[in-house]
Symmetry: C2
Subunit: 452 residues, 2 copies
């Protein structure tokens, strides 16, 4: 009988996160204050973030200790298993070895709690009583609800109104963990009231929900804001994924030629790939890191690398990143977690420097790959995750063609238990590739302010 | 940092199931042919079951080899982790040690695939092309769909019509794994057509769905029927759970004083408890096995121990078991998996012989326990599973009172990702205890045929 799961003992869980800012060939450009357009100072950020996270945001220390309290909570589900996908390999007839890291085993069902728990911890340490955040489909909101529950923090989630009503399961999950969830736009913030004054029936958007959450945090001294992707400290916390993988590959005396993750704001891709990119930069390992996006929101593949805002209302600092423009409205694809106009500055810089490749796929092929995976490996993946699976299958089939026994690693970033409506639509033949006209992307990018 | 998870290496997974029929103080009464009321012969059963499963049903061999092909599929998620519930212990302030076996990690989200995979394997070996079964909420149907997918068998699921429409997610999951799912009553079977002739708008019931699935199997030589609980071979396959627990307790040098599981037809409770009851019978271990039921369907606590049918239509053999009467209609509680009128003959006999205790709890306390668990250990349990949690908490609080450092083990038989509507209702104060008038139970039992 073949061993299918490579299990790292709890006692061997990594004790430090890896900070790639120590090793970037090109240092990151600083975030800019949205009013002055000058580099943002720590003071600009301290109204909504604790100083410890602001420090992590700019640190160039290579290794950062994971606090004991965070490790203790990680250990309720970590280390996560690394699976060898024997069934999938056999079904594809590929000589390639396919591995996947199972991040769906966390209580919230994705990799998101890796940073949620850390952020809740640092905010608790700073004496904060409550965290506010936004959520679309609810993956991030439920992870932060879980994390706040562990540290006895209150949690306020502004959930995009249309999701609040269409995806009640994720909302219930947040409430089970004690969070207060509001359908955004609300009448509790000025930005929410402004939207409602314009349109009483607004269904909301992630941009509006971010504005509400930031306003809530900025206006209450006991409250901070928490973000689930894009920022450097989020990427940092997620590196536990790739660091575990490295130890697990050692256990089976293997090493990946390809590291693949889906990419929305960048956090799960960064989590699995940055420790391997460390090896590529420092030890010249020939590993290829592939960030996979939907064709309908091709930030890395077709976006500009420039300064842009994180939200529609321009409340957030300007970040130097790949962007489709903060006004870009991606089509309503099912992988909601990949619909963001921007991208992690770290991943953007790595892509510009040729250390990360972007690939984009259409929805139909992505769901086909998801079904192939569910029917071979058993596990139902989230539609976001299925983008990584699609790419892994493509690479494995290239290996079949070339008869190369390459090692492929992808991040199974989350399960699809709350996404069955999307599978239903796919099985009913209702999911089609959605292309976004290049001229609209060009237009959205052209309208960005030029920052000197 | 405390170790929270006790992980058994894949290579140490048990290679044999434990058959308690070798050790029962009182041998089981035989099943009876529903027409003749004489002991059913293997021939009576061979129209719908393969001979290998019929043999397991009556075997008194203590140890039965798990086929290599079944072990190979088990290894996609097994051995499942044994967790030490440090957070829950702390929240309760109990000196007791609480452990839970995490069966929610299977692709279908519960312990059910342990037998589904075995049944699919034996049917495949027997040359069968298709399995038929019934499902209520869909836990069992999705497990059999998964298992048939692994062995390239067709799978036909008769899903109670009201669930088919109210719980589309479980239906989608079955379809993802390639099963054909029909809303029962259908017009594809005589029993379905009979019901529809009486009432075109019938919402269906488990009793009707069983009749359809059995009729389908009996009438097609390439098709067999598969049942997810009650029968002896199902209990046998589930013993992998308890056998793993025994090895895991050895790893931490501990042993349970209490083994607790929720109990509908008996399969997850049997799975975790039978290997420990083996130790109690043979080695005089003072372990207490507690089967937990809803007050609204108290089969072990208030049912008669007598011969009864498994279904409303009286198609199935008569089994000697605890029963509330095959006409008993339990109230529509949220733990649908515990609404069965009958009980595994093995568990029934063990209860009669004092080796198993039954306990019943009301819904409100059960959901309160579920929330306590979700907010301490993070994991969202299925409402069925929450019955076991309620009992474990009660025992732990008794230990607090008596200052005894007992060791408690319960089976986390499944996650609640598809049950969030029930949690929603609980959080909205809509879940109340449902008592069933004793006279109605007495009446249902009194109406049973007397078999000599």
């Amino acid at each position: 009988m073949k061993e299918r799961k490579i299990i790292l003992p709890e006692k061997d869980m990594p004790r430090k996160w890896y900070n790639i800012q120590a090793d970037l060939p090109t240092p990151l450009q600083p975030p800019l204050n949205p009013s002055t357009k000058k580099p943002a100072s720590p003071d600009d950020l301290s109204a909504i973030f604790p100083i410890s996270l602001i420090e992590q945001e700019v640190s160039t220390e290579r290794w950062i200790d994971i606090p004991e309290e965070v490790l203790d909570i990680y250990s309720t589900w970590r280390p996560s298993p690394l699976h060898r996908a024997y069934n999938l390999e056999k079904a594809l007839g590929t000589p390639a070895k396919i591995y996947y890291k199972q991040e769906g085993v966390s209580p919230a069902g994705s990799h998101k709690p890796n940073t949620a728990v850390a952020q809740a911890y640092y905010n608790k340490q700073a004496g904060i009583k409550r965290l506010s955040t936004e959520t679309g489909a609810g993956q991030w909101g439920s992870s932060l609800a879980l994390a706040c529950n562990y540290f006895d923090l209150e949690c306020t989630v502004y959930m995009v109104k249309i999701s609040y009503h269409q995806k009640p399961y994720r909302r219930s999950l947040m409430e089970v963990w004690g969070a207060d969830v509001y359908a955004s736009p609300t009448d509790m913030t000025q930005s929410g009231r402004n939207v409602l004054a314009d349109n009483q029936d607004s269904l909301g958007s992630l941009g509006i929900a971010i504005s509400e959450a930031v306003e809530d945090a900025a206006g209450n001294s006991d409250t901070n804001y928490s973000l689930g992707s894009v920022l450097n400290h989020v990427m940092l916390h997620q590196t536990i994924i790739g660091l575990e993988c490295q130890k697990q590959f050692e256990m089976v005396n293997d090493y990946p030629d390809y590291v693949i993750g889906c990419c929305g704001g960048g956090s799960n891709f960064a989590g699995i790939s940055l420790p391997f990119i460390h090896d590529k930069i420092r030890d010249d390992k020939p590993v290829r890191a592939i960030a996979v996006e939907p064709e309908a929101c091709p930030t890395l593949s077709k976006g500009a690398f420039t300064y842009d805002y994180g939200d529609v209302a321009k409340y957030t600092p300007l970040l130097m990143m790949h962007t489709l423009g903060h006004d870009f409205m991606p089509p309503g694809i099912h992988a909601g977690g990949l619909r963001y106009h921007g991208m992690s500055p770290i991943i953007s810089q790595l892509c510009t420097d040729g250390l990360v490749e972007g690939r984009a796929y259409g929805q139909e092929g992505v769901f086909e790959a998801a079904l192939t995976f569910a029917r071979t490996e058993g596990i139902l993946p989230a539609p976001e995750t299925a983008h990584a699976i699609k790419c892994a299958i493509e690479v494995a089939l290239e290996c079949k063609e070339s008869r190369e026994e390459k090692t492929i690693l992808f991040n199974l970033s989350g399960h699809g238990h709350f996404d069955l409506t999307a599978y239903d639509d796919y099985l009913a033949g209702k999911i089609k590739d959605v292309d976004y006209p290049q001229e609209l992307i060009d237009q959205s990018i052209a309208s960005l302010e030029k920052i000197k």
